[in-house]
Chain length 226, copies 2
């Protein structure tokens, strides 16, 4: 049973890549995309690699470390913008949208960004780029620094919202609208009156709005004494 007639080229055992940190992260990302975040367990990732959970600890410090590495890999794929004072605001939108899309492409990862904010090289590159764009826009250093934090939060939050609303967002919004309008108007007059506004927009529109509001707020501060 051990001398198969299958042709044995130099690549006879094709896939079965040797274990490595990258292989572990790849397997974990594949699992994340197919089965969601709670499927990313040490045991399941190991099973996907045809080994036991214990073997992963050679390449990864544990589940939290693995999640961090996954974040880094995703963040590193975000293409940067070369700051241009003539179109900085558009560049900001482009960069943040790319970040949001990278997270949305990996459902569940956004939630991990909130509990364990990334402090990796990849995220620093992003901060550097964001600072460049904001400073190109004439935003003061302190404002740019604190705004970078706010924008990062908007990206994560919006991606999380998109994760939650993935299934039939229009129907979810409609259900929310019905729930709001059905509330007792004497107790929730404004929620009832603003039901349409509260449920308006998909997560792209809401994201764009949030970025615009913060940007407008920054501009309102520019050149104004602290």
């Amino acid at each position: 049973m051990n001398a198969p007639s299958r042709p044995r080229s130099t690549r006879a055992r094709p896939a079965k890549a040797p274990l490595s940190e990258d292989a572990v992260i790849d397997a974990a990302l594949a699992l994340l995309q197919s089965d969601g975040l709670e499927a990313v367990t040490m045991r399941r990732v190991a099973a996907a690699l045809d080994t036991g959970a214990a073997s992963l600890y050679v390449y990864v410090s544990g589940r939290d470390g693995l999640l961090q590495s996954m974040q880094d890999r995703i963040i590193a794929t975000i293409e940067l913008e070369d700051p241009d004072p003539a179109r900085w605001r558009e560049q900001l939108h482009t960069l943040l949208d790319r970040g949001r899309q990278a997270l949305v492409a990996h459902p569940g990862i956004a939630a991990t960004l909130m509990t364990a904010p990334p402090s990796s090289r990849a995220s620093l590159v992003l901060v550097e780029n964001m600072l460049g764009i904001l400073l190109a826009g004439g935003v003061a250093r302190q404002d740019a620094a604190w705004a970078a934090d706010i924008f990062a939060m908007l990206v994560s939050y919006s991606a999380m919202e998109a994760d939650v609303r993935r299934a039939d967002p229009a129907e979810q919004a409609a259900a929310l609208y019905r729930a709001f309008t059905a509330l007792p108007a004497d107790q929730f007059p404004l929620v009832v009156a603003c039901a349409a506004q509260l449920t308006a927009g998909d997560s792209d529109e809401r994201f764009r709005y949030a970025v615009d509001v913060v940007t407008d707020g920054l501009l309102a501060r520019t050149g104004r004494p602290a």
Copy 2:
């Protein structure tokens, strides 16, 4: 060994409250405050109530339901503001600060708000109040509705940041500053140059800033065509 001489009033067995949803939530909140979020397990909550985990399922739909109920209890404690056009901006800060403090007083609960946003009556009351304040400030309905979402996010995020920075925030900021200034200046010129700004401010200051920026952004839009 079973007939103690201790005086036996009508309250001989003092604490041992009968199980109820409130009792379960109380026990869970106590555990949250003393041992953190990961200590809030069905088994440990049950143990604190001198029973088995299975007994909790009569009063609570499961761990997620329990966490939701805990959120609601905390949110319900937030005192509201009576919207006044003359001082709406101050009222907004007051309300949001109260929300933030309520979350910070229960370390770990903020993280659960991000993954499972509250849709309870208590949070609707808060949205109603926020809308009232913003509309009193002359903010347009659509802006107020979307801004309510952004402010809620700022509150949760800031509380989460405070949770993370609980231990020695000044030293953490100093360590971050050292890390930033130690970066290669050719690759991260702006992060190095803005190290002081990036690490400036405690979480109260950063929170106040974020609320102010968003408010300024809203005002910049007020009366401006969409």
